[in-house]
Structures are given as C-alpha cells and as structure tokens.
C-alpha cells in the first residue's frame, strides 16, 4: 500500500537522477518545479525511444 511519503521520495530520487543530467546540477531550478520535471523527464526518455525506433526502421 502506498504511503504519503512515497511520492516525495519518488520526486527526490527523480531529482537526483535528473540533476545529474543538467550542466548546473539543476541549481537554477526551483524546488517546486521538480515534481513536474519528474514527469517530463520520463517523457524525454520516451521521446528518445520513439525517435530511435523511427531511425532504426528508416536505416534498416
């Protein structure tokens, strides 16, 4: 069963991963934006997969 702390822990974990991908370590991003970035960060990875799928098919 989910607990109320799990979303916060999930966001903190996502923040750590995403910040490592940013040139400034995410220092310029305000705290309140990280929950949204946890969502969009997943989307960026899905864009990468779909683009790769298209390129692989076109190059086959």
């Amino acid at each position: 069963m989910a607990t109320t702390s799990e979303p916060a822990q999930g966001i903190a974990a996502a923040r750590e991963v995403l910040a490592a991908r940013l040139p400034d370590g995410g220092a310029s991003i305000p705290d309140e934006d990280w929950a949204d970035l946890a969502v969009t960060g997943v989307a960026v990875d899905s864009w990468r997969a779909l683009i790769r799928q298209l390129l692989d098919r076109s190059e086959a």
């Binding site: 969502v39 960060g41 997943v42 989307a43 864009w47 990468r48 997969a49």
Partner: protein, 457 residues
C-alpha cells in the same frame, strides 16, 4: 448567425470594393471595428491592447490616400491585429515575465502590413510565450471561445482566432510552431494558414523554437488569407495551379484515425465527399511514420530549442508560468545526441511526406483530433504536454516538414454546434495554390458563412 452586410464581417475583397466605391471610408470601418471590440472584448478577451487613436489616425491617412488615388492594394484601410508575440508597441508574449516589454521596432510583417495599407488595431491574446496554455489564474484574462465562452479558443494564437471569428478584425497575424495558427482557426471556425517555412519573415517574432516557428495569417475565408499572405511576403514564381477537379488528394489515415474523436472523423469524411463531388480523386495513402514517432520528434526539438530561447527568462521575476517554465526546463534534459537524432528523424518524416506529395499533391487530414475543452481555473501542469499517447495535434507534421498547411472549417458538431477543422497540406511554396483548393472547398461546403452569435456569459 450568418454573415450580413456588416462591414466588420464582410470579406476583404468586398470591403475593398466598398472603400473604393465611396460607400465606406477607412475611418468608418475602423470606428465600427472599435465599437465591436468595445462590445465583445470585455467578455471574450481577444485583445490585450487596442491602438484606438493610432488606428483612427492611420484610417484617416488611408482614406486621404484613396481620395488622392493612392491605392496600396486590397488591404488598404482594412483593420488587422497581431498576436502579442509579434513586435509592435507593447509586446508581452502573454507572460508576466515580459509584461513591461515594449518593442524597439516593428516586426517585418508589421512593416509589410502597414506598407500594404492595413490598419493595425491592436495586440491579441496568446498562450504564454506561444506555449503555456491559458487559465483563469493567469496575469492576463484568457481569450474565450466565441462559440462557447467557457471553452478554450485554441492556441496559441487564441486572441487571433477569437477576433477574426467575431469581426473584431478582418484578419490577424499569428505564429505557428506546432499548430498555433491552425488550432485556433479550427476551434473558432475560421481559416488559418501556416505558410512554407520562412515564407513570412520571422524578424521581430518572439521566438519559441526557431526551426519550427512560422508566421501566418488567420482570416475568415481562404481568399482573405491569400490577400494577407501576399501582402506579407515577396512573390514567388507561380507553381502549376491546384484545382479540385482531377486533383489527387492523399489521406494518411493511419497517422490520425486511431487517436481522432469520432465526431471529427465524421465531419472529415463528409469533407472528403465534398472534395470528391468537386472532382478530386481522394485516395488512401500509406505513411510510414506513426503519430507517436512524429510527436516525439517534434517534442524533443521544441523543448530543446525553447530551452535555448527562454531558459534565462525562467530566472526573471516574476518567471513564466508553470507549464511554459517546466517545458523550458525540460528542454535542458534533451542532450545534444538526442537533439541531433531528433533532427535526423525530422528529415525522415519530411522525406516521407515529400514522397506522398509527389504522388498526391495535396494531403488531407483533420486539423486536430479533439474537440474544444474548458478553460482551466489554474495553469496546467506539464502532464498533458508529454502524455502517452500524445495529444492528437496533427498540425505538428507540417511544422516538422516546413510545408504549407491550412485549416478551414469543415462542419459543426451536431450536439454542441462547435466548429471542426479540415487541414490540407501541399508542397513547399505552393501556399497560394493550396489556398485556391481551400477556397474551392469552402465555396461548395458553405461553412464560411456561419458565424458565432453574441456571447451570453
């Protein structure tokens, strides 16, 4: 409501005739437009800024020129308006971050409109920085759909769609990075053209994603859109004419059918029947790119380029709103390899479209696969922008390719009476010929004459 003899709703060609025949003066036309704005704008919020005094002065000059025999063409003395990302006077981009910005010079498209005699009556509402959708919680009140004011008019050129649909301007200039001219055209029941890439200059446009950004006109008819287009850009050598009779029109069903609202599919199918009746050879075409792949390609590019353009603005006080800000921040997660792969994928998409256009010079598809939605109380989060499956915004295909695409009304939902848009695409620099096909369709379909009534809320 149908179009009457009201000069604010008359086609530009008809207005031009009346202005030259002495039945109407530019000043009378601008005064009528300003009265209409006074009446409708407090409810519909299409305009951020109205240049009443400047417009009346310009109308006086335009009228004096006509009396002297100086004729600048069909836009001479005709009221037009600008999305507030086009530099001209106060230019906020609909953002608190730019609320005090005043343009140092007019955008090139404004210079061209003025040279053609058009009267700029004001600046129009936009989704924030041509991206973050409107809400009632914004600094600027959101523009409201004239067919149902609780609904969004489509964006990001929201005010342009509303102003043109209701006769608060004869035409407007918007920007279109993924559909921002064509979506409000579809949702407001008018015509919106995304021209060939850079056919209309982007100088003086607040950028969103430069490789995808286009400047384009919104008007009530395809003929009016053609008049504005020709005033805003240099002429090109005319291509072979496109006429519905005998024209092969391709329909890439697999690209949109699964994600499109059934009401829109029904109106689209009826529109195809009209084109067949006009003599077109409408054929199914195979398009080897899924909407999800095209959408992912689009999003990777727009996010990265918008981050490049606006990341610094995210540090402004106040910063952009939540939806725009988070996408600008998200763009920094698009690394160089992903951006370059997205551009390679874009070339694959463009080549696939080019192959289709070689066999069928016009492609037809719905403009957008969802109906108008309520304006939210508070700004959206980013979820809907990165949803899986992606939002059915079929307009983005032409932004990836740079080819011209026009949205025009193709019917109204029977239950809600809300307008539905048909999108037609053609090869590069066939903008004018594409509008000719659109004009032939609208002359037969007849939807152009249907206009929203006065708002009741």
């Amino acid at each position: 409501v149908t179009v009457s003899t009201d000069p604010c709703l008359a086609p530009i060609g008809e207005v031009a005739r009346r202005l030259r025949g002495g039945e109407l003066s530019p000043r009378e036309l601008v005064e009528a437009t300003l009265r209409r704005i006074d009446t409708l704008n407090p409810t519909l919020h299409a305009y951020y800024h109205v240049f009443a005094d400047e417009a009346l002065d310009a109308a006086g000059t335009a009228g004096a020129e006509l009396v002297r025999g100086v004729d600048r063409g069909p836009l001479h003395g005709v009221p037009v308006a600008l999305k507030d990302v086009i530099e001209c006077g106060p230019t906020t981009g609909g953002s608190a971050a730019l609320r005090d910005h005043v343009a140092g010079a007019d955008a090139e498209v404004v210079e061209r409109l003025r040279a053609a005699g058009a009267i700029v009556v004001g600046k129009l509402a936009t989704y924030e920085l041509a991206f973050g959708a409107s809400s009632y919680g914004d600094l600027f009140p959101p523009a409201r759909n004239p067919w149902a004011p609780e609904l969004d008019p489509g964006g990001s050129s929201t005010g342009a769609g509303v102003a043109v649909a209701t006769g608060m301007a004869h035409a407007a200039i918007g920007s279109d990075t993924g559909g921002s001219v064509r979506l409000p055209a579809a949702f407001c029941g008018i015509v919106g053209l995304k021209p060939t890439y850079d056919r209309i200059s982007r100088r003086g446009l607040i950028p969103l994603a430069p490789s995808l950004d286009h400047v384009g006109p919104l008007a009530r008819t395809a003929g009016d859109a053609a008049i504005v287009l020709e005033a805003c850009c240099d002429a090109v050598a005319p291509a072979a004419p496109l006429e519905p009779a005998g024209l092969r029109i391709g329909v890439p069903w697999a690209f949109f059918e699964a994600s499109c609202d059934a009401r829109i599919l029904a109106a689209f199918a009826t529109a195809l029947e009209v084109l067949v009746d006009l003599g077109a050879d409408v054929v199914d075409v195979e398009f080897d790119v899924s909407f999800a792949e095209a959408s992912a390609t689009f999003w990777a590019i727009i996010a990265a380029e918008a981050a490049r353009e606006h990341h610094e603005l995210c540090r402004a006080s106040p910063p952009p709103g939540r939806e725009a800000r988070v996408i600008f921040e998200t763009g920094r997660l698009v690394d160089a390899v992903l951006y370059l792969d997205a551009q390679r994928a874009r070339a694959v998409v463009a080549a696939a479209v080019e192959r289709l256009l070689a066999g069928t010079p016009v492609l037809a598809l719905p403009t957008v696969g969802m109906m108008q939605r309520p304006i939210p109380e508070q700004p959206f989060g980013p979820e809907r922008r990165v949803a899986d499956p992606p939002a059915p915004i079929y307009t983005l295909l032409a932004n990836l390719c740079g080819t011209p695409a026009v949205s025009l009304p193709c019917g109204f939902d029977g239950a809600t009476s809300l307008p539905i848009g048909l999108q037609l695409m053609a090869g590069p620099f066939r903008d004018r010929e594409l509008l000719d096909v659109a004009a032939a369709y609208e002359a037969t379909a007849g939807w152009t004459h249907r206009r929203p009534g006065a708002p009741t809320t």
